[in-house]
């Protein structure tokens, strides 16, 4: 009788352990993109950004940043149209390993008109850009933060239709907090 109870107890523990192992395995597989690396699943980014990049709009956005006096060394702009839906994502990569210098982000005397038009006066809509994203890369070439927000939220915030807290709530993405602390610590 006691032996049967003990055996049932072992089974119970075994099942719980198995479930835990499967759960840990699943999280690890997702975290390291095992399914994608094995070719069992196409990454969502490759599916969504399958169409060719919009090079014309990338050039226009880069031009507006340069006009505003931005130091564009280590800065790249990619505009990626999305498959099966209207709109594109404009991705600004700030890569310190490629010479981006955060201390000299903008020089004085730049002309902000073009950038202002793009951000505040519906210019993004004209360019069919519906989302903005920023990727900050550290000296070792590692992405520390990838943040994204809809172009509409940027417009609303710039025109004071939403406050700072609402705006932050709409910024999505990933920040490597330990990496950030390492980056800001001299």
């Amino acid at each position: 009788m006691e032996k049967t109870k003990r055996r049932k107890g072992y089974w119970g523990c075994g099942i719980v352990l198995l479930v835990l192992l499967l759960l840990v395995g699943w999280v690890a597989a997702i975290h390291w993109g095992v399914l994608e690396k094995l070719g069992l699943r196409q990454p969502i980014s490759e599916q969504v950004f399958a169409p060719p990049p919009d090079r014309e709009t990338s050039t226009a956005l880069m031009g507006a940043l340069q006009q505003a006096g931005m130091n564009t060394r280590g800065v790249e702009v990619y505009v990626l149209p999305m498959a099966g839906q209207e709109g594109s994502v404009a991705i600004l990569t700030l890569d310190t390993s490629q010479g981006f210098d955060p201390e000299r982000l903008f020089s004085d005397g730049g002309n902000w008109d073009a950038l202002e038009h793009i951000i505040e006066q519906g210019g993004l809509q004209d360019l069919n850009v519906t989302r903005l994203a920023f990727d900050y890369v550290d000296q070792n070439g590692k992405s520390i933060a990838t943040l994204t927000v809809s172009a509409e939220a940027v417009r609303q915030f710039s025109q004071e239709e939403i406050d700072e807290k609402e705006f932050i709530g709409q910024v999505m993405g990933r920040i490597d907090i330990p990496g950030l602390i390492r980056e800001v610590t001299p």
Binding site: V27, I30, H31, P43, I44, S45, E46, Q47, V48, F49, A50, P51, P52, P53, E76, Y78, L80, P81, M82, A83, G84, Q85, V89, I91, L92, L94, T96, F100, P102, E103, L105, W112, L115, E116, I119, R131, L132, A133, F134, Y136, A145, T146, L147, T148, F157, S158, E160, E164, K165, F167, I168, V171, M172, G173, R174, I175, I177, L180, E183, V184
Partner: protein, 205 residues
């Protein structure tokens, strides 16, 4: 303008980090932490399930790999064009199979090499992808096609076609590109061009 600056500064907060004074550094860390607290549920969902529930956001998180692929594929395609190396073009397409501009360029290179049916296969695959994406993509595909095949014209005019199949594929495809342009714009010029290339395709011997 100040609001715009604040918005930009918040979103690219990382760009302000190096060289800040202690107060500034603490502000950035606090901002990052408050952002993380504000979005704790979606960050947790993304970490556990690999999805934030928003396909656009999930795609942006992996965009760095896409950009690396684009740069690598661009390099391969450019080298393929310069060196007339079809295998490099194939490698580029393997990296970005949904990019119809690569397929059109590869199709044009195949046509030039006399591999007409392979070329037609690439043009069709490119058209299918462009149609599936919707919006302006079908028109962009046709523009790309007209540019790529237009660039072959001087050589075909100078040296002639290898065979009737190459001639038909060339003019027939050009006629098709122009028909697509006409259907998207209703400009009579495109219809005229389509008719002209159709006649040339029928006259191939």
């Amino acid at each position: 303008m100040r609001k715009l600056m604040v918005a930009l500064a918040m979103v690219i907060l990382m760009s302000l980090v190096t060289g800040c004074d202690a107060e500034g550094r603490q502000f950035i860390i606090d901002l990052a932490l408050s952002w993380a607290a504000e979005n704790a549920v979606s960050i947790g969902a993304y970490t556990l399930l690999g999805s934030s529930g928003n396909a656009e956001v999930d795609a942006v998180m992996g965009a760095r790999d896409v950009i690396n692929n684009i740069n690598e594929a661009d390099r391969l395609m450019e080298e393929g064009r310069q060196e007339n190396d079809l295998s490099k073009m194939e490698d580029a397409i393997e990296k970005r199979p949904g990019d119809y501009t690569y397929r059109v360029s590869y199709g044009a290179a195949l046509l030039k090499a006399g591999r007409s049916s392979d070329a037609e296969g690439q043009f069709t695959a490119a058209e299918d992808a462009a149609k599936a994406y919707g919006g302006e993509h079908e028109q962009l595909w046709a523009i790309e096609g007209i540019d790529n095949l237009g660039a072959l014209r001087p050589e075909f005019e100078k040296n002639g076609f290898v065979d009737a199949q190459q001639c038909q594929a060339y003019y027939g495809q050009l006629a098709h590109f122009y028909r697509v342009r006409y259907s998207g714009t209703q400009q009579a010029y495109f219809q005229t061009q389509a008719d002209q290339y159709e006649s040339l395709a029928q006259a191939c011997k």
